[in-house]
């Protein structure tokens, strides 16, 4: 899970396997963003899920959101080497500088 005091999580899987990354958040939100950061680049939004969706799919990506448990997950089906990146979940906030609060990230490594 991406929240709390844990360090950057690392997951290493073989190409072709499925993987799920979890995110639990502390403050109420109706939208969870998932960003991907490739080495040497800034994060980029890959999927966004709202509270009325429970599940959202985009290609090989699947995001879920459970507002009652304040948790979200991102699954990648049949992972490929190019999926290697750091994945962040982020929740929307109102007010303050932090319009988005980012989780600590999961380093995903896909082994050929």
């Amino acid at each position: 899970s991406q929240w709390g005091e844990e360090n950057l999580q690392a997951l290493s899987i073989q190409e072709g396997e499925d993987v799920t990354m979890n995110c639990s958040y502390k403050t109420y939100t109706t939208v969870v963003h998932w960003y991907r950061q490739d080495s040497g680049r800034g994060p980029a939004l890959i999927i966004l899920i709202r509270s009325n969706e429970r599940e959202k799919r985009s290609g090989r990506l699947r995001a879920t959101l459970d507002t009652s448990s304040q948790s979200s997950s991102l699954s990648i089906t049949a992972a490929q080497c190019e999926d290697t990146a750091v994945y962040f979940c982020a929740t929307e906030n109102t007010g303050g500088a932090d319009r988005l609060t980012f989780g600590k990230g999961t380093q995903l490594i896909i082994q050929p």
Partner: protein, 112 residues
């Protein structure tokens, strides 16, 4: 090309020096941000700024200051760098009414 651009890519400097990083967005957005990303990939918001309002994260040391000439530019100045300032500084932008943020590639600062 429409995107968020940052210069320089890398900067190495000595403790006590002043540095300045540039950020320009050609996306037509009205809000820009500076984040600090540490070696564990943790993203911390430093500032958010639109034409009307600068919001400063209260944990940011006073030696950091944003500088904006117009809504497409938000630079970051560090008056007297310290070793703990070594990090990647990421600039982002969005429409104030939207939460999705678009990031630049970052500037990696190393303080010796």
């Amino acid at each position: 090309e429409t995107a968020v651009f940052q210069t320089p890519n890398y900067h190495v400097t000595q403790v006590g020096n002043e540095v300045s990083f540039n950020c320009k967005q050609t996306l037509g957005h009205d809000t820009m941000y500076w984040y600090k990303q540490d070696s564990k990939k943790l993203l911390k918001i430093m500032f958010s700024y639109n034409n009307k309002q600068l919001i400063v994260n209260e944990t940011v040391p006073r030696r950091f200051s944003p500088q904006s000439s117009d809504k497409a530019h938000l630079n970051l100045r560090i008056k007297s760098v310290e070793p703990e300032d070594s990090a990647v500084y990421l600039c982002a932008s969005n429409w104030g009414g939207s939460y999705e943020q678009y990031f630049g590639p970052g500037t990696r600062l190393t303080v010796l």
